[in-house]
Subunit: 232 residues, 2 copies
Amino acid sequence: MNIETENRERQRTPLDREKVLKAAVQLADREGIDSLSMRRVGHQLGVEAMSLYNHIANKEDLLDGMLDVVLAEIDPPLADEGDWRHVFHERVLAARRALKRHPWASTIVVTRVNPTPQMLAYMDSMIGIVRRAGFSLDLTHHAMHALGSRTMGFAQELFEDSADPSADPAAMELMISQMAEQFPYAAEIATKVRHDDESVVGSGCDDQFEFEFGLDLILDGLERLRRADESR
Amino acid sequence: MNIETENRERQRTPLDREKVLKAAVQLADREGIDSLSMRRVGHQLGVEAMSLYNHIANKEDLLDGMLDVVLAEIDPPLADEGDWRHVFHERVLAARRALKRHPWASTIVVTRVNPTPQMLAYMDSMIGIVRRAGFSLDLTHHAMHALGSRTMGFAQELFEDSADPSADPAAMELMISQMAEQFPYAAEIATKVRHDDESVVGSGCDDQFEFEFGLDLILDGLERLRRADESR
DNA sequence: ACCTGAACACCGTTCAAGT
DNA sequence: ACCTGAACACCGTTCAAGT
């Protein structure tokens, strides 16, 4: 029995911040972040929207809290053993798994104006990995900027759904043939992606693969710079 | 005399799509994307919000059109001469300059569900640069994913304003000392950034530098892969 | 052909009033 | 101490009615 039905029957349990956040996360998971309103979170808890203001400051505070619920799910880092790139890579994938469970979370990260406590804790642990691997303060700073949102397990993909399998193939075919004249290079890539998608084994647009490809490209570049710095 | 005052006096000139887009861009430049509403764009043109629907389909269509106004300002690419990385780098900076003139544009890019015509044209030209430099179709595809939004001249920065000079130094000092215990690595970086900002010459958090650092790190990594691929 | 008034179904947030 | 009714100042969008 979830919170909603429980509270609809009789509102014995008083509200608190944690209950509000949990209900909001549940609602966003089920209906998407665009459907999340104060009124709807209230309804989910069997309460009017105004009651929520007794437990959260405003909607921004609600979003901050929801993000921290998600980030608290990230697995702790591996021990510092062997190549720092491995430790870093694995932790980024742990963050990615947590964010993937709540697809709205990455859009929330991006709109935060101040880092939340859990974001700070996560970033601190990631900075620690490279510092203990011998990165200078300068190179560490550049590294974090270069990685950007990849540190948190996601990257800004342009045209995320162009390879969406739900798009019907006939429309895709038409689009590609129309693009071919004006945008030959883009059409060539779109054709490749479509072909690879059709063959079962191929991975025309495997998000996970592309994410790790980009991540390791940057980590390898950084390791090269660390070595150059060290032997300076 | 701008469109607003002109049309307030007497509405002789009939509306068209271009005028709506221009007015919307002007409004977003001046007051930010959050202040952009159908009602306010209408007001800017001396017209009710409902009139806009004669020229644009809906708000998403308006945002698409606004983005294409901005992207049309990107300088054309250099000739294919010398290192492809230079040509690519310079064009990305051209895109960056255009987006920087309209700070809301990058947030619009990120929320598009379908690529706009100008986005397609831009991406096509960038794909062309690497293809003509000898990249395989596969590597080209991975390259575009690895670069992500960097291709368009921006990157997802976490905590953009943590080095904001408008934040008062005393509050910054306090925050850092509070962080130091719980988040020593993050505090160390924050301290460095603050020091470099104070010295006039230093560039503790030079967005432009960090952007190009990350861009070149990826371009160099890709060039290495291209060479390995070629001599395979 | 283009513009508008009225309306619909929503938002976040405040605050005095209730229990 | 916590919750609510009423209200404020907004949204995007539709559609019949006006010119």
